[in-house]
Amino acid sequence: MSAVVTEKKLKVVGTRPDRPDGVPKLTGTAQYGADYTLPGMLWGKILRSPHAHARIRKIDASKALKLPGVKGVITAADLPEQKFEYVGAERVAQNFWHMTRNILAREKVLYEGHALAAVAATTPAIAAEALKLIEVDYEILPHVIDVEDAMKPDAPLLFEDMITRGVEPPPTKPSNVSKRVEFKIGDADAAFATADEVVEMSFKTAAVHQGYIEPHACLARADADGQAEVWSSSQGHFVVRTMTVKMLGMKTGDLRCHAAEIGGAFGGKTVVYVEPVAVALSKKTGHPVKIMMSREDVFKATGPTSGASMTIKVGVMRDGTIVAAKGLFKYQAGAFPGSPVMNGCMCGFAPYDIANVNTIGYDVVCNRPKSVAYRAPGSPISAFAVESTLDMAAKKIGMDPIQFRLKNIAKIGTPTVWGPKHSHAGFAETLQALQKHPAYTAPLGKNQGRGVAVGYWFNGGGESSSTVNVNEDGTVVVATGSPDIGGSRASTAQMAAETLGIPYEAVRPIIADTNSVGYTQATGGSRVTFATGITVINACKKVTEEMCKRAAKMWKIEPENVIWEDGSARPAGKRAGEFPPLTFKEIASKRTATGGPVVASASINAEGQAPGFSAQFADVEVDPDTGAVKILRDVAAQDVGRAIHPSYCEGQIIGGVVQGIGCALNEEYIYDKNGHLENAGFLDYRMPVASDLPKIDAIVVEVPNPNHPYGVKGVAEANIVPPMAAIASAIHGATGKRLTDLPMSPPKVLAALDG
């Protein structure tokens, strides 16, 4: 791949233009998942289990079907059975046998809120009424919520035949442990014996929800010939297509999926819940069907991230060298296998150069909604445990926490616990930027403390596509397959304008539907500006090559003697100086005479992404009477490679930090003894509001990624990783008490102070 463009040459990249999709969002005309309607549309609603664990003996919808206005009811019997097999890369493997059962339960319901039937009716009120008329005969079964309880030998089993994968020889008895993973370099056990100090601690985290403000919603229409269309809010309309056709046994080309504007996702909209149901109802009734989840449904039935139990052991020398590290990670998968425990095992110690590391992870099912990706999935959980333990180790040897981390920081060539060597710089530079922040040495008052932590995330590459169409007035339309969650249309347009040498305003970026642009993976893993960005740049380069050929035609000279420079075609070589340059606009206007439309597409399965790295410190004040923790300051440095649009880089960093603060201090799924979620609403599931927070201080560090033409590294995720441990260490600094159980809510802090 080409070398990184040097900064001084850039005109559009690195500036802060208005986002092209801004005005419709400011005036209320932007269409999100729930904003679409079609003539003759019905309203779909989903019946959900009131029980945490029960066998479904019978579902009788006959009364519901008799209610005037009800046009159809579906259950799992309307969806084809799927083969039991894990498919895809191990870290993100899927099993469609599980997926279809999560969309509509078959033999059993496995958590409160588990979907098991759906109705379509002429009004939402009739649909709601019809749900009450569906009779379900349940055999209630014992349930299990906590991960440690679920691992006990006598725990109620969610799947009576689940044999733990990753254990040799395989266990003979079934359990709730879906999988064991282990990573190892060196010999940690032997190395602990050589350490000056060893610290071992155990931790717990709570399940937390992504908390996007827009509930899942979609509109579907199906034709009698088998073709169908879906408008939905998701991180990947191609993902919606792939999963929906699979769930319904359709042909891929028969389903056209449109990307609605998306009202937040953070990983939670990388799977389907309502889309296959809406298409199935539409097929059954012959009408378009709209389904909107309620907030309660979102909490009860869509993916939070895992809660976990963890034990960390680190051995350090008095000079600060970490010589050995061990981590045991038990993650809740929810009702079906697939927690991000593998990521937790890989990311926890990834920032460091440690010769002897051993991490072991367990993926454990329990009677909770199936966990789903949440911003750097798995990494914030293990980082809370690892970074908290390292803070104690640094304190034990009396070393500054940034200095301690700098001493051990991974560099290019440092091996990772999963095998390959680190191949990108930026970790040390980010820590140094944090260290230089003037507030790092500012004095603290009574009951105040400061804590430091870092966070690692792989970032993603993968498959993307885009198409560039040149218009006769010199404007261009750039169509990509990547839904825009946080401003990617702006960064796309900037990269296109930069490459073509035309003004930002001349570029119109759009998100094309699945049948109008090449396959593109979901917007996730901080991959869009990197991978989709490369396709946009490559398509734009093809356009400039074509524009040179058109100019050669206009000048009647050889195409090899035309070059593209500064947004214009120029005669070069032996023709240099023979003609004045032709601008993009001038050539575009001669389209018809020079060979017809100028169109270029590019696609990629991108590799060479650089990981995300964030280093942060938090200052807190603990109220000794109430146990309330106030965030006084949070400074977050992150290596973004190169900021295409610095405001949206800062926005990603600040947004991630604040989600981390919520996870640290307030957010948690709370279950009663019957396995019912007690806080399925924004009143009791308390996410940070404006008055809880100070201004977050984002430091954008730029260590370019040589594998992207403008140096981009994904920026959306690493920022959520450090806050939990940074805040825990700050509380420790303020009070002398180390909290090891998230969230660090006032009652827990008070109990620690009293204890």
Partner: protein, 160 residues
């Protein structure tokens, strides 16, 4: 069930509609009048995405019955810009990159506009407390607060 006939004013226009007595104003706006600018984030008054202004006060339209709109003056996000001219707050939100996904933005803008109508010179803290009923999961609020304070400044300048 017989529907209720309601006569009201929305964004300065006389509007009549029929609604079920159980329908919220949010449902009426979105499903009957096809004004989908106000969003449903929770339906329980906890997120502010559905915020509208009713007779000068900001209100969660998901907690207000459609039938109660009778004789009221309602302002929604659809009425905030004057033709093709954005309101100062809208322009400042754009300039400060105060939206990522934008789902909270309509409610945030109505709440901020109501704030500035009541207090043209709010402090940062007053702004943070006023907007505490409007959840934003994307931005961490920095840029929203900056945009509102910057808009307040510009509006004050325009008046003096």
């Amino acid at each position: 069930m017989a529907k209720q006939h309601v006569v009201t004013t929305i964004n300065g226009n006389a509007v009549e509609f029929l609604c079920d007595t159980r329908q919220t104003l949010l449902e009426v706006l979105r499903d009957e009048l096809h004004m989908t600018g106000a969003k449903e984030g929770c339906g329980t008054g906890d997120c502010g995405a559905c915020t509208v202004n009713i007779d000068g006060r900001m209100m969660c339209s998901c907690l207000f019955l459609g039938a109660e709109a009778q004789g009221k003056k309602i302002n929604t996000i659809e009425g905030m810009a004057a033709g093709d001219k954005l309101h100062v707050l809208q322009r400042k939100f754009l300039e400060h990159a105060a939206l990522q996904c934008g789902i909270c933005t309509p409610g945030m803008l109505i709440a901020a506009k109501t704030l500035l109508e009541n207090n043209p010179d709010p402090t940062e803290e007053q702004t943070r407390y006023w907007l505490a009923g409007n959840l934003c999961r994307c931005t961490g609020y920095n840029q929203i607060i900056d945009a509102v304070l910057d808009a307040a400044k510009e509006l004050r300048g325009a008046k003096s």
